[in-house]
Amino acid sequence: MSSARWFTLIGALFALACAVSGALYFASRSADFGAHALAVGGIGEVRHLDRLLSEQVLAARFGLSNQYDPLTATELELVRAEGELHGSVGAVATTPDVDRALRALDRALAERRSALEHFKAENSVLKNSLRYLPTAGEEVAAELAANGKAALARDVNVLVRATLVYNLIGDQSTRDAHFAATERVRAERAELTGSAASDIDLLLAHARVIGERLPSVDGWLKQAANEDLSDRLASLENLYQTRFSESAARANRYRQVLYAWSLLLVLAVALAGLQLKKLYAGLERRVAERTVELERARDALWGEMQLARRIQEALVPREPQLRGCDVAASMRSAAQVGGDYYDVIHTKTHEWILIGDVSGHGVPAGLVMMMCQTAVRTALERDPELLPDRLLVLVNAVLTENIRQLGEDKYMTITALRRDASGSIWFAGAHQDLFVYRADSGVVETFETAGLWLGLRPDAEGAFELRELKLGVRDVLVLHTDGVTEAMRDGALFDTTGMRRILAGAKDKTAGEVLDALLHALDGFDLDDDATLVVIRQLEAAPKNTRPSTTPPPATPRPTAP
């Protein structure tokens, strides 16, 4: 499988796992106990108000309270509390049966309120009539008696009494007695006219109110104080509690499932880990392959550096020697082989010392170095009596042409020194300054070198100036490349002062010791470039008679203070 598809698959599986976990989490959340408390509290409040209302209804019916404000206030509270139940119970249990129970409760409450309204109305009216009837009866009876209607007056009193007894006992026989008395008075009233008649009409109206309202008030009372609402409430509560514990149990089950699922996920993650490990094994193999490739490439590059180094090593003389001199030389190659070059050549009549530096690094620099050495040797073989300035003109011509053919943009600094049998050293060509330690004075003299760099233009006729220096016994000549003076430590150059300081202490030291001192001083300096040092110490006085065939102009040494 390609890794892109593999990752899509993993992503999809991860999303699925998240979705399932989320769903399980929501299903397993334990029922909200705050909402539960609210619902239970709400049910409790409705129950309380329901009971209070029933008590208040009874109190109103039996004259223990004389107005309905408290009753009405309780009723409105009950309506509010019951209304809130829909919210609080619904927030916890939303099953259809709970819904039905709530609606049944609504209906019971509505019925109860309707009964309550009728109860209030009829109870008031009944009370008024019950209270007024005896007074009205007494007045009417007195009036009738005064008008000589004693029989009717007596029947009126009977009616009042029968009605009150009916109110007290309320059974069928007292009810019958009440109606019989009413009928009798009504029948007798027909004969009457005037105020007595209307008084009896009023009396009869009150008797009728009592006869009708007594049973109906108690009917409404039963409805208004009945247990229907509290029964409905109880069944709602049962249902609610059942649903709540069911939902709690369900949440528990889901929690267990969630645990199992989590376990599964852990396993899956472990498996996926293994799979990933395999995947990484493949990746590692490929990384290894790539690494090998890289190493090869690096080796190729490294090989080139090695070649450059080998070229350099091949060119540089192993143990340079000069007659009557003690010679020590060192060449330190930088990591990237630079273009340092030095050579010591013995012809029949002269000894040559060459020191130079090709611009750039690596193999190309090495090639230029090689060409230079070949050109020098060829020229000296052809004409052993050449003077250094002439030699450099010839070498420059060859080198410039070769570099052009190579297509490289290179040049080279070089100083050529010819040591004659007489001991004179003739030199030419621009490279680094030459330092000479004078053994008898202890002074370090500096000889500047000048001339054209090789490789810049083919014709260098007249571009080099020939100079001469002479070494006395135990004098020390030091040649170096810029790698030495440009060695750095803590941002400071080793510089020529560093060299001259060491050289000033060269008295009675062998060339090797001077070289060691120089190298020791260089320790701890960073070499960015090749660093070459050649130390030549004159051991015995040279013979005065031998002179070069051409007389070179004398070099004028500039003594410098140590």
Binding site: S54, L58, A59, R61, F62, G63, L64, S65, N66, Q67, Y68, D69, P70, T72, E75, L76, S114, E117, H118, K120, A121, S124, V125, K127, N128, S129, L130, R131, Y132, P134, T135, A136, E138, E139, L164, N167, L168, L202, A205, H206, V209, K222, A225, N226, E227
Partner: protein, 336 residues
């Protein structure tokens, strides 16, 4: 319900009734007025305090209450029919709405309406908030719609900012209802002579009014007009001991009262018992505006609701009592 308990209470009550029966008529009425039973309270109670309300909302409600532009043609405000200077009514038999249309019933006062257990003669609105929808949409009143009202309120910068200051969600129907209702909740007429009397000031009621109060209780007016609002806590048939509507004639649908809401035959001609607070200011009387004076109204009550004949003295003193129920209009609605 525990029937045993019912029995015990019934017995106690019976004893009380018996003792009343045996006494002579005047004494019986006297004692009834003095509430000899275990009655927990006086049948009438003092006006409660205005509940704590947000003054910003109340001020907004007051503005809306007087705003003619809420009606369809910009001619009628709530205050037109419920003139706060005139006892919260318009003094008409039937109110005149947008386009001169006549309503079906007499306008009750908005003063102390907050204390009524339901709103309107037939109790068809449970709360003040619910009630407000009716005049706004009634074609014989303001004849508009809440859409129209809300559009106006939103477009008017003064109202928009007043709503924004009073409510977090600015102009909405619920907020407009709430503002008007809260304003009405402040319309309690405090400091009536009768309330001062209830508070213990013996001199607050003139002797005639004092006697009227006793009569009001003893003849049974308190059986219906009772509680803190002297009414407004129950429904009653108009014509308990006589057929009021037959005697009056010309029965209209509005006369059916609560029947129009419940369609229950038992509720025909049933009305919410009105509050009698400030009743001296709210003529004409009854849902049909048929009684021009208090004297007429009291006589009708005595005849049809009590089945009693009241003497002229009794009527006079009852009227004196009813006049003592007038509270301070100027201060109503100021607080809160």
């Amino acid at each position: 319900m525990k029937l045993e308990r019912l029995g015990v209470v019934a017995l106690a009550c019976t004893l009380a009734a018996c003792s009343e029966t045996k006494s002579s008529a005047p004494r019986a009425e006297q004692r009834a007025g003095a509430a000899p039973t275990a009655a927990s309270r006086e049948p009438l109670e003092a006006l409660p305090d205005v509940p704590p309300l947000d003054p910003k909302i109340v001020a907004l409600g007051r503005r809306l209450f007087h705003e003619r532009r809420l009606s369809a043609d910009g001619s009628i405000a709530c205050a037109n029919c419920h003139d706060l200077q005139r006892g919260g009514v318009d003094g008409q038999v039937r109110s005149t709405g947008v386009g001169g249309k006549q309503g079906a019933v007499n306008a009750p006062t908005v003063y102390n309406a907050a204390l009524n257990f339901v709103q309107f003669w037939d109790g068809r609105a449970a709360t003040l908030e619910e009630q407000i929808g009716f005049p706004v949409t009634n074609p014989a009143e303001m004849a508009t719609s809440f859409e129209h009202v809300l559009a106006f309120l939103k477009a008017d910068p003064g109202y928009a900012s007043a709503f924004a200051a009073a409510f977090p969600n600015g102009v909405t129907e619920a907020n407009a209802r709430r503002a008007l209702a809260d304003f009405e909740r402040t319309l309690l007429t405090r400091d009536s002579p009768f309330d001062r009397f209830l508070a213990g000031d013996e001199h607050a009621l003139a002797p005639e009014a004092r006697a009227g109060y006793e009569t009001f209780k003893s003849v049974g007016c308190v059986a219906c007009h009772q509680g803190r609002n002297v009414g407004g806590n129950m429904f009653q048939r108009f014509g308990v001991l006589g057929d009021y509507f037959k005697d009056r004639g010309n029965v209209t649908e509005a006369d059916y009262g609560r029947f129009n809401v419940t369609h229950n035959e038992a509720d025909r001609f049933v009305f919410r018992v009105p509050s009698l607070r400030n009743v001296a200011r709210t003529a004409p009387y009854f849902h049909d505006g048929s009684a021009a004076t208090l004297a007429q109204a009291v006589q009708v009550m005595a005849r049809y609701q009590l089945g009693r004949k009241l003497s002229d003295d009794q009527v006079r003193s009852i009227i004196a009592f009813l006049q003592s129920l007038s509270g301070e209009l100027a201060r109503a609605g100021e607080k809160g």
